[in-house]
């Protein structure tokens, strides 16, 4: 049962493998150049496991010891996770011992895969989801360790490779678009974010976007009809 789920999960994670390896390597190089070597990198990638947050963590560590600002900045940067949790309440239900790990490992990339891919017929869905999360976590740890160890030895030009994540999100957005006739939730997500990006600028637009999205989704509650859910 587990083997089958693993085999089904593995190909789904290939885009994340590419992205996490290279972004992980970039993180490892950055951490290393700030004096945080392998042990530290392993610690952060294993227990924080949040891409953009770890890059910010390095600059926080380099700017002095300030607990309050670390707490506030972490909440600001990771607030979008709240949406992921709300979206996964039902899916993680009855996952038993796997549930805490599923919650811990809910990154942007794992979330988007969980939204975008369905387990093939005959595959246990809980193990399938679990392996997607676990594989992604392993890629991230491996990438960052490689970056810390021998990042400076990479000679081919990897500039732009981080776009693989954007590409993944765009593709999952398109798949979700196809899945439903009612596109209003997707449109609300895109438009609210664009509006808030214009008003609040790149550094501060996520929280207002979340509030606007939530408000609009609630306003249109009676008119939105999703077909693949009851």
């Amino acid at each position: 049962m587990r083997k089958k789920a693993f085999k089904a999960a593995l190909p789904m994670t290939i885009p994340v493998l590419t992205g996490y390896l290279f972004i992980g390597i970039a993180f490892g190089i950055l951490a290393n150049s700030n004096g945080y070597h392998l042990g530290w990198i392993l610690l952060m990638s294993t227990f924080i496991f949040a891409g953009s947050m770890q890059f910010v963590a390095i600059s926080l560590l380099a700017s002095g010891f300030n607990i309050l600002s670390v707490i506030l900045i972490t909440i600001m940067i990771n607030a979008r996770h709240l949406f992921y949790g709300l979206s996964m309440l039902d899916r993680f239900k009855n996952m038993g011992k796997k549930k805490p790990y599923m919650i811990f490992s809910l990154t942007d990339e794992t979330f988007s895969l969980l939204c975008g891919v369905d387990p093939p017929g005959g595959v246990n869905k809980d193990w399938f989801y679990f392996y997607i999360a676990l594989l992604n976590h392993i890629y991230w740890i491996l990438g960052s360790l490689v970056g810390g160890l021998l990042g400076s030895l990479i000679t081919f030009n990897t500039q732009g490779i981080e776009f693989v994540m954007t590409a993944l999100f765009v593709v999952i957005f398109l798949d979700q678009w196809e899945k439903n006739k009612d596109h209003s939730p997707a449109i609300i997500g895109i438009l609210s974010s664009i509006i808030c990006l214009i008003i609040f600028r790149a550094e501060n637009f996520i929280l207002p976007s979340m509030i606007l999205i939530m408000t609009l989704l609630l306003i249109f509650k009676t008119t939105i009809r999703l077909e693949d859910e009851q």
């Binding site: 811990f104 590409a167 999100f169 593709v171 957005f173 939730p185 999703l226």
Partner: protein, 111 residues
């Protein structure tokens, strides 16, 4: 490293805990053994669609229309991904070609 090892460790621990908190809060508020309010169920169903949309914009947040090099790579690559994906419906193909195209543009055209 300007912090001591202990200070660094404390900072990392706090970041890890706070990150986990942002992930776990919905599950604490709406545990398995209690009936989830109908509105939250509804949000759980529609939020994936809105969240992925937000995530796409989040990835594109640094583009600017002041200069061609600041928007062209992203916009062109995203459009090509949309076209390829509509055409072949092959996830890896769309992601692979889109990423390679983006890399070529930022490395050779919009330097």
């Amino acid at each position: 490293m300007i912090l001591t090892a202990t200070e660094s460790f404390i900072m990392i621990l706090i970041i890890a805990i706070m990150t986990f908190l942002t992930r776990v809060i919905p599950f604490i508020l709406f545990p398995d053994n209690k009936e989830t309010p109908e509105t939250i169920n509804y949000l759980g169903n529609v939020l994936p669609y809105a969240s992925i949309g937000m995530l796409v914009i989040y990835c594109l947040k640094d583009i600017s229309f002041c200069e061609r090099t600041l928007w062209l790579p992203e916009i062109v690559s995203v459009l090509v991904i949309i076209i390829i994906h509509k055409w072949r419906k092959n996830t890896l193909l769309s992601i692979g070609l889109g990423t390679i195209l983006y890399m070529l543009i930022v490395q050779f055209i919009c330097k």
